[in-house]
């Protein structure tokens, strides 16, 4: 099934969900065409391929669309059997990864987004919640790393959780610069800090991370837009 390989990814350069899929495709060594979408003016293709959510990312494999980043990642792992595995074979290890990937996307990232688009009391409350969730994550992932800080080798062999984590929290210094707070503190979250640092040093991650200034500018824009909308 993977023999005829026409793969395209509809995404945006600034979207961490798009980034997840790019990292997965590159980790597996799958050639693909990246279609940059303008979310203010969505292409007819995007609306055709993802009529339910009308969002990026969408992977199109031999004309068949798959939407939702975590669904896409598992599809990639199951379809391309050669190359590194994104998920291990053991059902319990897979369950742990799925649980924490879900936590990262549905809880941590959502709270982080709220911190980015709010101010005053709402932001203060969101920051407190963020730190609590980061602490929960730090405690929770200790089971995954019984020997302490994760050792990522330089072979670019990222697993699913590595990919989700570094897409969403890899650029934490961007958030810290724009918001003026330390989100991932090496003292409060030593495991998470070390893990992110190792991931950010990988050649593949560096290659796919947009320039710091560009990300800072887009986060400023996103924050200002959100604050203006909520004030209106």
């Amino acid at each position: 099934m993977a023999e005829e390989n026409v793969v395209s990814l509809h995404g945006t350069w600034a979207s961490p969900f798009s980034k997840c899929v790019e990292l997965a495709l590159k980790t597996k060594g799958i050639p693909f065409e990246f279609v940059e979408e303008d979310l203010r003016n969505k292409s007819p293709s995007l609306l055709k391929y993802n009529p339910v959510h009308k969002k990026v990312p969408v992977l199109v494999h031999n004309g068949k669309p798959i939407a939702e980043s975590l669904v896409i990642l598992e599809y990639i792992d199951e379809t391309w059997k050669t190359g590194p595995k994104l998920l291990l074979e053991d059902p319990y290890k897979r369950a742990q990864v799925r649980f924490w990937a879900g936590y990262l996307q549905q809880h941590l990232f959502v709270t982080m987004s709220l911190v980015c688009k709010s101010d005053g009391e709402v932001q203060e409350k969101a920051i407190k919640e963020l730190f609590e969730k980061l602490k929960t994550f730090e405690e929770g992932i200790k089971d995954l790393f019984p020997d302490g800080a994760p050792s990522i080798d330089c072979s670019n062999n990222l697993g699913l959780l590595d990919i989700v984590l570094c897409s969403q929290f890899g650029p934490h210094k961007v958030q810290e610069e724009v918001l003026g707070i330390t989100t991932i503190d090496p003292e409060k979250n030593p495991l998470l800090f070390t893990w992110l640092k190792s991931l950010n040093e990988l050649p593949l991650v560096k290659e796919l991370t947009p320039p710091h200034e560009k990300l800072v500018a887009v986060l400023h824009f996103f924050r200002n837009y959100a604050l203006k909308s909520s004030a209106a």
């Binding site: 798959i66 669904v71 598992e74 059902p91 879900g102 405690e139």
Partner: protein, 223 residues
């Protein structure tokens, strides 16, 4: 490994908990069930799910798994036999997509429509029906979302087949009707009679009582 003891922590009225029961039944897995009182959570639940402190939680030997979607996939991968998810990666991806859609979009919109009153209700009902229409269209002419046999999407849609009907009756809102969604209604009739599902549904009278007390004060304060 698959022979180790299986325990399920849940509640009689939770569709999420009942999903796991359906999956275990489909696979023929014997398990011990522990009914939780969510107003007074057991030390076991708090130990097994310290992150969310919620049910369902599946304990298989020493392994603990939380979150219904994660549990359903674990069950499918651990015990052979019945396929809850399709084997084909593309069909599997579609199933996961629709399962997420139901939980992340559909059910919250349905609950919102049921809880809203007065001017907000019409808009909330309209939005919920738009989402139900997507499921109606996805069902096409299949007996189940999984085709001839029930699968992940059917199991995750259990709320629609049973709980929704009860809430609708209590709050007097028209969401899932034969006129608007004939296929979904027919699916629902087949689903609730399925051998693995029929004993995994809370008794209607008990649910009615719970929802009357939950939604009762909201509906009587209509202006």
């Amino acid at each position: 490994m698959a022979e180790e003891e299986v325990k399920l922590y849940g509640t009689w009225r939770s569709p999420y908990s009942r999903r796991v029961e359906i999956a275990l039944k489909l696979k023929g897995v014997q398990h011990k069930y522990y009914e939780e009182d969510l107003t007074n959570k057991s030390p076991a639940l708090l130990k097994y799910n310290p992150v969310h402190k919620k049910i369902p939680v599946l304990v298989h030997g020493e392994k603990v798994i939380a979150e219904s979607h994660v549990i359903l996939e674990y069950i499918d991968e651990t015990w052979k036999g019945y396929n809850i998810l399709p084997k084909d990666p593309c069909e599997k991806a579609k199933a996961r997509f629709w399962a997420r859609f139901i939980d992340e979009k559909c059910i919250p919109a349905l609950k919102k429509a049921c809880a809203s009153i007065a001017e907000e209700r019409e808009k909330a009902v309209e939005e919920a029906c738009e989402l139900l229409q997507l499921l109606e269209d996805e069902l096409k002419h299949k007996k189940y979302f999984g085709g001839d046999c029930i699968g992940l999407v059917d199991i995750v849609a259990n709320f629609i087949s049973h709980w929704l009907k009860v809430v609708q009756e209590v709050v007097g809102v028209e969401l899932l009707t034969i006129k608007k969604f004939p296929r979904l209604c027919e699916w629902s009739e087949h689903f609730v009679c399925h051998h693995a599902v029929k004993d995994c549904l809370p008794p209607k009278e008990k649910l009615l009582a719970v929802f009357h007390s939950h939604y009762g004060s909201a509906t009587t304060s209509k202006c």
